[in-house]
């Protein structure tokens, strides 16, 4: 829900069948993990997603995506050397989920 923008705690709580204090507690856990951040607005707290840990994961994945694409190419070249001829172009399909 926070992916669409910041939300006050009451608005978040209204979407779940749990109490407001329970939702606050859950948000505290998310905050401790660095996934959400809060700011005060009048008498209530507004929560928003902190993108950094998620961006970090995306960057980390991008490094591995490149790494494995390179390694699969190296494997093709290795197999070609083993078979004793020049590497044919492998058909390639990549997907990330």
């Amino acid at each position: 829900m926070l992916a669409d923008g910041e939300r006050p705690v009451l608005s978040l709580a209204s979407c779940f069948s749990v109490s407001v204090p329970a939702v606050s507690q859950h948000l505290a856990v998310l905050r401790a993990c660095g996934l959400v951040e809060e700011r005060r607005e009048g008498r209530q707290r507004v929560y928003y997603l902190t993108p950094d840990p998620l961006r970090e994961v995306a960057e980390w994945m991008a490094i591995y995506q490149r790494f494995w694409t390179d390694r699969l190419g190296a494997l093709g070249a290795f197999l070609a050397r083993q078979a004793g001829h020049t590497p044919p172009k492998p058909r390639k399909k990549g997907r990330r989920s």
Binding site: H26, P53, M61, L75, Q82, R96
Partner: protein, 145 residues
């Protein structure tokens, strides 16, 4: 769970591709250097490369599954500060060669790792299992778009 999936088709017989994935001399040629890999469940091995800024230069693995010539899976710890990941190779004989699927899973991030350990209550568990991964997926798609 967030993961990398790659599929490549090689014009070589499945036995040859399996050998390239499971022979330590072969692995050392195309992946990373290893001298202790054996395709035996429970085998602990290390893949070594050059250390780089932000990376210690080796990956510690344990063989989780080795079913010739179809499936090879090992745990993957490239950074001791991160949760262990899993690399799984699936080989399928096709008309003119072998289809090789690679799945590298476990890109949860440090926050997700802690969360997984903290989740306790049943309602919370359900919400986190269904809602949070969806949020992260959407977020990642936005980040990488």
């Amino acid at each position: 769970m967030t993961r990398i999936d790659l599929t490549e088709t090689y014009p070589y017989p499945i036995a040859q591709v399996w050998a390239a994935l499971t022979d330590k001399a072969a692995i050392s040629e195309w992946l990373m250097t290893t001298d202790d890999f054996e395709p035996v469940v429970g085998c602990k091995f290390r893949l070594r490369s050059k250390p780089m800024p932000g990376w210690r230069g080796f990956v510690d693995c344990v063989v989780l599954e080795a079913t010739p010539p179809a499936r090879l899976s090992y745990s993957w710890v490239g950074d001791e500060k991160r949760p262990p990941m899993t690399v799984t190779w699936t080989l399928t004989a096709v008309a003119h060669g072998t289809r090789l699927q690679l799945e590298h899973s476990g890109f949860e991030g440090f926050g997700g790792f802690i969360l997984a350990k903290l989740m306790m209550g049943p309602g919370w568990k359900k919400m986190m299992r269904k809602k949070l991964p969806a949020v992260i997926e959407v977020r990642l798609q936005k980040e990488t778009a």
